[in-house]
């Protein structure tokens, strides 16, 4: 059977007629990265990694982008990897450089991102001696990697790089750490030994990344589909990482079943498709949540029954027969015990389901009463907000951005209310367009991720929709945007609060503020109190050399958004919004979708 070439799979790995007579370890590393097709590295240098930077300069084939903080380079690599599906490389020095990457690695593990994190390590003679800038990166990252290497032998360098890219990108993708000692970077390998090291094949016999469903399993699913009266397709991030959106569309159309995605799966099914119930979960669409809750057949494709999706697991789709197709066997029965666990690559499974349906003359069941019900809910309860507010609500700002970009931009976000509103009021019709830290929920993700996305997709608009809390966490990357000439845009929804925590305080803690005010506690800035706004984002942007504009009146909003989009460099649009908005709907933790709160409870 013919399969598509996987991203980063080297086509001609062993041939290298022009291998020099001798090579330094660092040069060998860079050469190995080139062999994997790496075009960009996001890297912050230091004592234990500067050899590699020198090699990058010497080779000159890989664009090396300097962030202003190691976490910045990690999340830039996220943006690059999440929007291309290719492995992306970030690099830092030993000790603090490496620990600053840890959050990015954990984030990649949670959201299945093919991230290659290279860290310099102190010389072998200093390992274990509490040397300057020494940390046990290998040990420290064990629980948050797909795999990791400590490189202590120059002969292993080319093979390890080859294995790392293969492991990161195949199966369920994930982060791979390569910790490489400085003396290995400096050592010289010559002649036959060099040739042998360069041509070494991968040696990972325990790794079998391509499970495939068998036909009996799939036929059993089709039989369930044929007799379903309340079916729903629940599509997760696996659709996107598995490049299976076309296969999903085809399968959905031959069955006619309603489709709802997770946030990880956003864009995996076009949200303007008549069968779409957009996305569901804690702040998701009412119809999607109710449909899943009342379903009799739940077809779960590349998803993992996360607690933000299921709420109280016992009350999640209580009457449904559940099908769960996933490439990661350990996800089966982990959170939800299901009737049909299928261990398979999702692209293959969906393609084969459709083929089998055609071959066997599958007849879609008649589910008109069910459709009438769920699409009725969908019409009745769209994502909405109060139209009478005199100020610019964050939802309106995002809606306007959606209209002005025709839904074609790549959107990144920080974490919090704005992240949810971005998913609600921007609609995603293609995969790899909503880039967000969803599993780990890392604030500060938005700006560096946007830079990585823009580097990978210079032809597309890339906009970081951010909150003033999240944005501050990696604000230093404005310098990277300027110096590396990466024209990303930031739509900053400035409410002077940590909005999501404020919302929970309002609902659960009688509105008592526990360190959730970002401005002056005695004089909080707002659209009605512009002088008190803190900090002055315009001045910060001036300092970085980034063009910016503050907007607070509804009548100026559209034109301001236009100005941001039309500007040919980085741009920050400081949108002053009221902090009183709540993200609705909301399923309180531990509740069932039946208990979803549709409107803000009156205070």
């Amino acid at each position: 059977m013919k399969t598509e070439t996987l991203p980063n799979t080297p086509t001609n790995v062993t041939q290298s007629p022009d291998l020099p007579a001798a090579m330094k370890g660092a040069d060998l590393l860079v050469r190995s990265l080139e062999r994997e097709g790496v075009e960009v590295i996001f890297a912050y240098p230091g004592g234990a990694s500067m050899e590699i930077h020198q090699s990058l300069v010497r080779a000159g084939n890989i664009r090396t982008i300097l962030p202003r903080f190691e976490q910045g380079c990690g999340f830039m690599a996220h943006g690059y990897a999440r929007t291309t599906g290719k492995a992306s490389v970030c690099m830092a020095t030993s000790g603090p450089g490496a620990t600053n990457l840890v959050t990015c690695i954990a984030d990649a593990q949670m959201d299945s991102v093919p991230l290659i994190a290279i860290t310099g390590q102190v010389k072998q003679e200093f390992i274990g001696k509490s040397a300057f800038q020494e940390t046990d990166v290998f040990g420290m990252t064990l629980p948050i990697v797909k795999h990791s290497y400590l490189v202590l032998d120059i002969n292993d360098v080319p093979r390890i790089v080859k294995e790392a890219f293969h492991i990161a990108t195949t199966g369920r993708p994930g982060p791979v750490v390569i910790d490489i000692a400085k003396d290995v970077q400096q050592e010289i390998l010559k002649g036959d030994a060099l040739k042998k090291a360069w041509e070494a094949e991968m040696d990972i016999p325990g790794y079998n990344p391509n499970p495939r469903a068998n036909d009996e399993e799939l036929i059993a699913i089709l039989d369930e589909c044929a007799k379903a009266d309340r079916p729903v397709i629940y599509a997760g991030g696996g659709i996107i990482t598995g490049n299976a959106h076309k296969e999903l569309l085809e399968f959905a159309e031959i069955t006619g079943f309603p489709v709802t995605t997770t946030l990880m799966g956003l864009g995996g099914f076009p949200e303007n498709h008549p069968q779409s119930l957009r996305w569901f979960g804690m702040h998701g669409c009412v119809a999607g949540n109710w449909a899943v809750c009342e379903s009799s057949l739940l077809l779960t494709f590349g998803a993992r029954f996360d607690d933000r999706i299921t709420g109280a697991i016992a009350k999640f789709a209580p009457d449904a027969t559940v099908v769960h197709i996933d490439i990661d066997k350990s996800e089966h029965h982990k959170n939800k015990v299901v009737q049909y666990p299928v261990h398979s690559d999702i692209k293959y499974a969906l393609k084969r389901l459709t083929e089998l349906a055609r071959e066997r003359g599958f007849k879609a069941p008649s589910i008109d009463p069910w459709k009438e019900k769920v699409y009725g809910w969908h019409t009745e309860h769209p994502f909405q907000y109060d139209q009478d507010c005199p100020h610019i609500q964050p939802q309106r700002a995002i809606q306007t951005l959606f209209e002005e970009t025709k839904g074609e931009a790549i959107i990144t976000t920080g974490v919090g209310q704005h992240q949810m509103w971005a998913a609600q009021f921007y609609q995603f019709h293609q995969p790899r367009s909503y880039v967000s830290s969803l599993g780990l929920g890392t604030m500060g993700f938005g700006l560096p991720a946007a830079l990585g996305c823009k580097v990978a997709h210079p032809e597309r608009q890339v906009i970081d929709i951010d909150g003033d809390g999240s944005f501050m966490m990696n604000v230093q990357e404005l310098a990277t945007a300027v110096m590396e000439k990466i024209p990303v845009k930031v739509m900053l929804l400035n409410n002077q609060h940590l909005g999501m925590v404020v919302q929970w305080e309002d609902i659960l803690y009688e509105g008592i503020r526990g360190q959730t005010v970002l401005g002056h506690p005695e004089n909080i800035g707002s659209p009605d109190n512009l002088d008190a706004l803190y900090p002055d984002w315009g001045k910060i942007c001036d300092g970085f050399g980034v063009k910016s504009r503050r907007v607070w009146k509804q009548e100026d909003l559209r034109e301001a958004v236009r100005e941001m989009l039309d500007h040919d460099g980085p741009f920050l649009l400081d949108v002053v919004v009221p902090y009183t908005e709540h993200v609705m709907p909301f399923i309180p933790a531990g509740a069932s979708a039946r208990d979803i709160l549709i409107k803000t409870p009156s205070k």
């Binding site: 290998f138 064990l142 629980p143 795999h147 290497y149 016999p205 325990g206 066997k329 089966h332």
Partner: protein, 162 residues
């Protein structure tokens, strides 16, 4: 419930830490852990005994399978298997008690591997029940030190009908 897990791994840097971390990260306390090379070069077998509920263990085994350096994972309690453990125990003796201890060793087919006036070191191999019974017998004499290998095990070739 007690489980004996057998894990065939590539003998690579950090593999024991990965496997042990997979148990501890899921709240399993490892009762015994045994690691040693196999007949094939480059491979080791890890045998761990753990206590935990079956569904959690099922999850743990799947997670072990995901580790790149792991080739096989087997919950031996799913079938029949042979399990052995070796214990070295230093028992306090004197002129009067020594013959009695030696006699217990004979009954259990244990070997005395070191003799001194005041103590014996005894080597004993068996399954956990046999070892427990033996230790119970020598305990009154005074156990000074003890070292155990932990269970090592292999599945039986043919199932024995009981």
């Amino acid at each position: 419930m007690r489980h004996t897990i057998s894990v065939l791994v590539e003998n690579k840097f950090g593999v024991l830490a990965r496997v042990a971390g997979m148990f501890s990260g899921r709240g399993f306390n490892i009762d015994t852990l045994n690691v040693g090379p196999t007949h094939s070069e480059g491979y080791s077998r890890i045998t761990a005994t753990v206590k935990g509920d079956t569904q959690q263990l099922d999850q743990c085994i799947k997670q072990l399978h995901k580790l790149v350096d792991v080739l096989e994972v087997e919950d031996l309690d799913q079938g029949q298997f042979v399990a052995r453990e070796l214990v070295l125990v230093k028992v306090e003796v004197n002129k009067e008690s020594r013959p009695e201890v030696v006699q217990i060793c004979e009954i259990f087919r244990a070997n005395i591997v070191d003799v001194a006036h005041e103590a014996l070191i005894i080597e004993m191999t068996g399954n956990q029940n046999k070892i427990a019974a033996f230790l119970e017998m020598v305990k009154p004499f005074g156990i000074q030190r003890m070292a155990r290998t932990g269970t090592t095990a292999l599945p039986r070739t043919h199932k024995i009908e009981l």
